[in-house]
């Protein structure tokens, strides 16, 4: 039976035309998927701080106009040639980190950095040919973001960036697995492999930090210390497993690392930096125990500043590890996380604190920038 050839689709999208300016709800045309591509009707998408950071960027590698958003869930509307992994009607999550399952890295347990479609933050088109599938009302190209671009009712994504998931779960609850939650939870689970009884310090209690707390709790950590400037993060954190809280504004002259070393008799076994500030990464490093302390860097440095560490103390057995997406392979691990959620082994519900329709997407930005939400879900058809 001949399949009808997919047509371009006109739909609504939130377009960014200038750095830091409110997104504009416009009509865009979304081209059909080419070979190895999948066109997805987005159900909902949540705002992640990486969207905000990129939205504010005035200099290279930023480009305009652009459709942001990279944490989402949707339904396959059409597929291009060579796509066998998913079918029209499947529920899928687009993920910014590719999982081609075929290259040296994808085949290795040690890596999640696909080398066939390597992650490039500045990518503004489709990963294989670099071109865009979006055009605006005037017929001009609108650029992609992180190979996902989910602030649109329809988007086109490479099949390597797509994970098939169950359609039985509330989409707004599991949407956060396509970036933020997996990054944090995976870091505690896979990257650090936190051992039972360990002491963990988490710097920054946004979505990633709170997901680290949840991951550390599931791993059986003995003590989980949260560091944040907002006191109300302690309450949320406690529900996920936080045992101690440090507000850097309330420690007087002392540094965070002095306080942590005192609390832990020498330093934490694992320190996670979940914000993206070189100065905090150094603080996290100094808070880790000599002998075996590990510092895990998850935050994307806001100014792309280099990270600087003492060269003497690293000889005393410290390790610094960085990872993207919590060291997880999207196609292998997202389904595992969904199972854990279904079996009530992990908490996701606490992460969604607000919901808006596409027309109110700028409100999501305000809420996140003001620190008033964890995840704000944006419904595409409302």
């Amino acid at each position: 039976m001949a399949m009808p050839f997919p047509e371009p689709i006109r739909c609504k999208a939130a377009v960014c035309r200038a750095a830091g300016e409110p997104l504009l709800i416009e009509e865009v045309v979304v081209a059909p998927p080419r070979a190895h591509e999948v066109r997805v009707r987005i159900i909902c998408s949540s705002l992640c701080y990486s969207d905000v950071a990129a939205w504010r960027l005035r200099v290279f590698p930023t480009v305009f106009p652009r459709i942001f958003g990279h944490e989402a869930i949707g339904v396959v509307e059409s597929v291009g040639e060579e796509v066998e992994e998913v079918e029209v009607g499947d529920t899928v999550m687009p993920v910014f980190l590719a999982d081609c399952r075929d290259c040296v890295d994808c085949r290795s347990e040690r890596s999640n950095m696909c080398s066939r479609l390597p992650f490039r933050a500045q990518t503004s088109g489709m990963p294989r040919d670099g071109t865009t599938r979006f055009t605006d009302a005037a017929g001009d190209p609108v650029h992609h973001f992180l190979a996902v671009s989910s602030f649109s009712q329809y988007t086109v994504v490479d099949v390597a960036n797509v994970v098939k998931v169950s359609s039985e779960m509330p989409p707004e609850k599991i949407c956060v697995l396509s970036c933020g939650f997996s990054t944090g939870f995976g870091a505690a689970w896979k990257v650090a492999n936190v051992d039972p009884g360990a002491t963990v310090a988490v710097f920054g209690l946004g979505t990633i930090g709170l997901a680290v707390v949840e991951g550390a709790r599931v791993q059986g950590a003995g003590r989980i210390i949260g560091v944040d400037l907002k006191p109300d993060k302690f309450e949320v954190g406690k529900r996920l497993g936080l045992t101690d809280f440090i507000n850097p504004n309330d420690i007087g002259d002392r540094s965070i690392n002095e306080v942590i070393k005192e609390m832990t008799n020498g330093g934490a076994d694992y320190c996670f930096e979940c914000i993206g500030l070189a100065s905090l990464m150094l603080e996290a490093y100094r808070s880790s125990r000599l002998g075996w302390g590990k510092t895990i860097i998850l935050g994307v440095e806001k100014n792309m500043s280099p990270i600087t560490f003492d060269s003497k103390e690293i000889l005393c057995g410290r390790t610094i590890i960085g990872s993207a997406f919590g060291g997880l392979k999207s196609k292998t691990h997202i389904p595992i996380l969904i199972d854990k959620y279904l079996n009530k082994e992990l908490h996701l519900d606490e992460f969604v604190t607000h919901e808006v329709g596409l027309d109110e997407i700028n409100k999501a930005f305000e809420l996140l920038i003001e620190g008033k939400c964890i995840r704000c879900v944006i419904w595409m058809d409302k």
């Binding site: 890295d105 290795s108 040690r110 890596s111 999640n112 950095m113 080398s115 390597p118 992650f119 933050a121 020498g266 993206g276 070189a278 990464m281 000599l290 002998g291 075996w292 860097i297 998850l298 994307v300 440095e301 792309m304 500043s305 280099p306 990270i307 600087t308 560490f309 003492d310 060269s311 003497k312 690293i314 000889l315 005393c316 057995g317 410290r318 390790t319 610094i320 590890i321 960085g322 990872s323 993207a324 060291g327």
Partner: protein
């Protein structure tokens, strides 16, 4: 009968006194190479070495070898309080006397003094993940690690001479805490044994314990001094598939081949390109393990950039010469890279050095080719010149020549 009574009386009267004379160690006058001013030639002077106190061991040094870290501290003008000091920390000797509560070694044992302690009873010593003793952590102390924490050395004027990292081996007799002493269970030529008390253990251990290099992997070693060559040897023993050596001295390639180095990059002959560009090209993306074995923050950054994304590990073994911080690209670290450092290659001295001794005896570990020069104690400054000029790997300094 009278003979018996006479014998018993003389035995009773003589033996306690004789025991006391034999048992109580006395201060020893001997020669030491003392450093009094940063960067100036060492002077051979007479010093008095006090007897070992509780938990301490006095060792007659057989031979010692010069390590780059001795030179780093010898030059340290910024720390005038360091001097006068007896440097040296890579050595082998014989136990001359022991203090109270020492049961692990006895007079006459051949031992290695090691700058890193292993008390055997603390959380750090008990953990498989660490070689950092929590009871006697590594610090720049200038006296003994426990007890009065003072120096056991006094010079001719009666003033104290500082210890160096709990060893001080540029002297005929030294006093070391028993937690810093490793016994040799089998005979090994002393000059080879001494190497295991620092440099070679640091390198081999780095590949074995810290990195746990996997068979078939690609390794890049930055700096082919004793530590770097030992890291190559360690990587070879772990079954690495390819070992790239990076140095500015082309002569290092020949000697490097003896330790398993398969490729050589001379950082001065790569034109405009950066080291990491060259290594990434050679390895199709970066090495699995990169070892920094010099102690330069810029080289540590190069090593990091030369490591493969996904799983690349950078192992810092060099002590940064100026204490400068390491600076790495924040985006690149998110790609699954890690950086770790270790003292003594992550090895626990008492547990792991004997394993390397066994490997040497079974000819699985090459120690012989590290020793390129030998001098007598009076010529110790020549050892410094040879190392500074890059002409030696290890120069053994014999105490009795």
């Amino acid at each position: 009968m009278w003979k018996l009574i006479h014998f018993l009386i003389t035995a009773f009267l003589q033996s306690p006194k004789k025991e006391m004379e034999d048992k109580t160690p006395k201060p020893i006058k001997c020669k030491a190479a003392v450093c009094r001013v940063a960067g100036e030639r060492l002077q051979i002077e007479e010093v008095v070495v006090a007897p070992p106190q509780r938990y301490e061991v006095r060792i007659k040094i057989i031979c010692t070898s010069l390590c780059q870290t001795d030179i780093t501290f010898w030059r340290m003008k910024e720390l005038p309080g360091l001097f006068p000091i007896i440097l040296g920390h890579e050595a082998v000797g014989v136990v001359e006397s022991v203090g109270e509560a020492v049961e692990e070694v006895a007079v006459g044992d051949t031992v290695l003094p090691v700058f890193l302690a292993e008390c055997g009873g603390c959380a750090g010593c008990g953990s498989r993940r660490s070689n950092e003793c929590s009871v006697l952590p590594f610090t720049m102390r200038m006296g003994m690690p426990r007890g009065d924490e003072a120096s056991r050395f006094t010079d001719a004027a009666g003033g104290p001479v500082h210890h160096f990292i709990s060893v001080s081996s540029f002297v005929e007799y030294t006093v070391v805490d028993v937690a810093h002493v490793v016994k040799l269970h089998k005979p090994i030529p002393p000059a080879k044994a001494a190497l295991l008390s620092c440099g070679i253990s640091t390198g081999v251990g780095g590949a074995w314990k810290t990195a746990d290099v996997e068979p078939g992997s690609t390794v890049a070693i930055f700096g082919l001094g004793a530590v770097g060559l030992a890291a190559a040897e360690g990587a070879r023993m772990q079954g690495a598939g390819r070992i790239i050596g990076v140095d500015v001295n082309p002569g290092k390639f020949e000697i490097g081949k003896k330790f398993g180095i398969t490729d050589f990059v001379n950082s001065k002959e790569i034109g405009d390109r950066s080291l990491s560009e060259v290594i990434k090209e050679m390895t199709g993306g970066g090495a699995d393990y990169c070892f920094e074995c010099v102690g330069l923050a810029s080289l540590m950054a190069d090593a990091f950039e030369s490591s493969r994304s996904g799983w690349g590990k950078t192992i810092i073994l060099g002590a940064e010469k100026h204490g400068s911080p390491i600076s790495v690209n924040s985006m690149e670290i998110l790609r699954g890279r890690s950086i770790m450092g270790a003292l003594l290659g992550g090895m626990k001295p008492k547990t792991d050095i004997p394993i390397l001794m066994e490997k040497y005896i079974r000819k699985e570990l090459n120690l012989d080719d590290f020793i390129t020069h030998e001098v007598g104690f009076e010529d110790i400054n020549k050892a410094f010149e040879l190392l500074e000029e890059g002409k030696s790997i290890r120069c053994t300094i014999w105490m009795d020549r």
